[in-house]
Amino acid sequence: MIPEGLQVRDLCTYFFGRTSVNKAVDGISYEVRTGEIMAIVGESGCGKTVSALSLLQLNPPGSRIIRGQVLWEGRDLLRMGADEISRIRGKEISMVFQEPLTALNPIMTIGQQIAEVFQTHEGLDKKEAERKTIEMLEGVAMPDPEKRAKSYPFQLSGGMRQRAMIAMALGCRPALLIADEPTTAVDVTIQAQLLELITSVAKEIKTTVILITHNLGIVARYASKIVIMYAGKFVEKGETAELYAHPRHPYTISLLKAVPRLDQESKQKLVTIDGQPPPLDHRLPPGCSFHPRCIHAREKCKEEIPAFRRISDNHEVACWFVEG
């Protein structure tokens, strides 16, 4: 039987500089079941975007996928040739990028760009593709869809651009949608509209969603599973409710307390994490990458990299301190 959903095993994507190696993604493994919404959370530069791009062999220039498997319905996406994977991109697996202005083609109207998806993947002729494009734009609540289809990306607001991108991504009923910070560039009321749209449509057509974000509130609201990423590695993963209720990794614990909450008393001192996130060139400390900022760090943390350990059915953590 072909296992359903997505399995990622020991994925490593490194950037090679002249003298240094940046381990942007360093041995991450996870599984997402069909229809689940999984969130990858981390601060900037932790490798969450590169990890998602690598799934579709879209890792940025200068980087190489060193090893790992990305099993999608029994096939390894990383072993596919260029032709084969481009048939999957945009059809079975599609992406919503963070900054629609750079992700969209500036010299094509958004109508043309969306229609292209239908022409390429569903073999529709130009007329039908255009008709379907307008339908999709209506579906994602684009105001005045017929007029907007003839607009270029720069003529639209950030929210409208992101709607166009979502229309493009959902157009072929993808089985997996990778949303990379889909709402970081838009206002909160638009953010709520867009996320509500993505998640409700995904539920309807049973699309699996990988949601990359730094916003712990969004995760709490929409995701059923969460992984916390730090310096190219996962440090904790589990079901959202369980992980928020009983965070175990010192990084997760402080991260959750570092965000101001609307429902707290105001004028509260926040918990801070000393130091800086690891530098982008990833000259990482030996052992656990978090140990220089960790209040519980001991000798062992500085020497050995902790492995994942299951602490309950739906909760795993990689930390020597939790081991006891």
């Binding site: 601060e43 900037s44 105001p143 607001s157 929210g159 409208m160 206002d187 909160v188 009321t189 638009i190 953010q191 709520a192 509209q193 509500e196 730094h214 916003n215 712990l216 509130g217 969004i218 995760v219 709490a220 609201r221 929409y222 959202t240 409710a241 928020y244 209720a245 402080s254 991260l255 959750l256 570092a258 965000v259 101001p260 909450r261 609307l262 429902d263 707290q264 008393e265 105001s266 004028k267 509260q268 001192k269 926040l270 918990v271 801070t272 994490i273 800086q276 996130p277």
Partner: protein, 344 residues
């Protein structure tokens, strides 16, 4: 408590022009359209709203970086009035500003010391006095004194924002306008800077006008929160009450759009989804600017503009429906609804 800053009916309109050789005005963007508020000594007013609502322009007017179209800005009992530029110079650095982008707002050719000491240039301090003062504020904002001769690009985002803060406090201003000071920072660094803002206020006793789009951040740092929509303030309330008792329907939608990082709380929350996008300030809707997106809008909302009213003690809102309903019965707010649910 003493009032430090009073803004009365502040307006800032930007003309929209067309044509290169013969410029003609084709419209007016009402970026700030009749905004009034006060800031007391030692207190923080948070100004929230979505992009384009005029919050940054409001801050820039107070800083004297924009000349207001009309309205009064009374600072430390002095009316900055019409000759704003001139009067502003007399402020002698009593008002300072911190910008959002810690990368763009620091001169890359200056060292940390030169950047921080810049506001002192108008006063006649000799080199060692200046250095003494710079060292003192660097200590206050938690910067390593060894970094005094480094250039801006050698600092991380969080450290740069500390430099901006050091520059802002070196002349001990009584008001600091902070324009999205933490939105470019990562969560762990953001928490450090927010704490720093609060610690400095405790030590030095200045006031903040804290402009940001992140409601949770603003609420955490502020005593009062003013919510802006399309050039107007729609609600002013104590930060503590903002979540418990929002009145204006835009505020309610805004709050419900901000997710709380706790799945058990999120499950119980009511979600309000607003229709459509924010209209253009070039051609704002009639009456209450929010009425096309408001689910409670009545006939009057499209016709007449609601005024700010103190609908409850220390709680101002500009909404016809709230005004009417509060006259008869009070509305249950989200906080109360949750409470009722827990207790029942």
């Amino acid at each position: 408590m003493d009032i430090l800053l009073e803004v009365k009916d502040l307006k800032k309109y930007f003309p929209l022009t067309k044509g290169i050789l013969r410029e003609r005005q084709i419209g007016l963007i009402k970026a700030v359209d009749g905004v009034s508020f006060t800031i007391k000594k030692g207190e923080t007013l948070g100004l929230v709203g979505e992009s384009g609502c005029g919050k940054t322009t409001t801050g820039r007017c107070i800083m004297g970086l924009e000349e207001p179209t009309s309205g009064k800005i009374i600072f430390e009992d002095k009316d900055l009035g019409s000759s704003y530029g001139l009067e502003f110079k007399k402020l002698q650095g009593r008002v300072q500003i911190i910008f959002q982008d810690p990368y763009g707002s620091l001169d890359p050719r200056l060292t940390a010391e030169q950047i921080i000491a810049e506001p002192l240039m108008v006063e006649k301090f000799n080199h060692s006095e200046t250095r003494e003062k710079v060292k003192e504020v660097m200590g206050l904002v938690g910067l390593d004194l060894e970094m005094i001769n480094r250039y801006a690009h050698m600092f991380s985002g969080g450290q740069r924002q500390r430099i901006s803060i050091a520059r802002a406090i070196i002349r001990r201003p009584s008001l600091i306008v902070c324009d999205e000071p933490v939105s470019a920072l990562d969560v762990s660094i953001q928490a450090q800077i927010i704490n720093l803002f609060m610690e400095l206020q405790e030590k030095l006793g200045h006031s903040y006008l804290f402009i940001a789009h992140d409601l949770s951040v603003v609420r955490n740092i502020s005593d009062w929160v003013a919510v802006m929509y399309l050039g107007k303030i729609v609600e002013i309330v104590r930060a503590m009450e903002l979540f418990r008792k929002p009145l204006h329907f835009y505020t309610r939608a805004l709050i419900s759009a901000v997710p709380i990082p706790d799945p058990s709380v999120e499950k119980e929350r009511q979600r309000i989804l607003l229709k459509g996008e924010v209209p253009s300030p070039l051609n704002p809707p009639s009456g209450c600017h929010f009425h096309p997106r408001c689910w409670e809008a009545k006939k009057i909302c499209a016709e007449e503009e609601p005024r700010m009213k103190e609908v409850e003690p220390e709680h101002w809102a500009a909404c016809w429906v709230v005004e009417k309903q509060l006259g008869s019965r009070r509305l249950k707010t989200e906080g109360e609804r949750i409470l009722c649910k827990i207790l029942s």
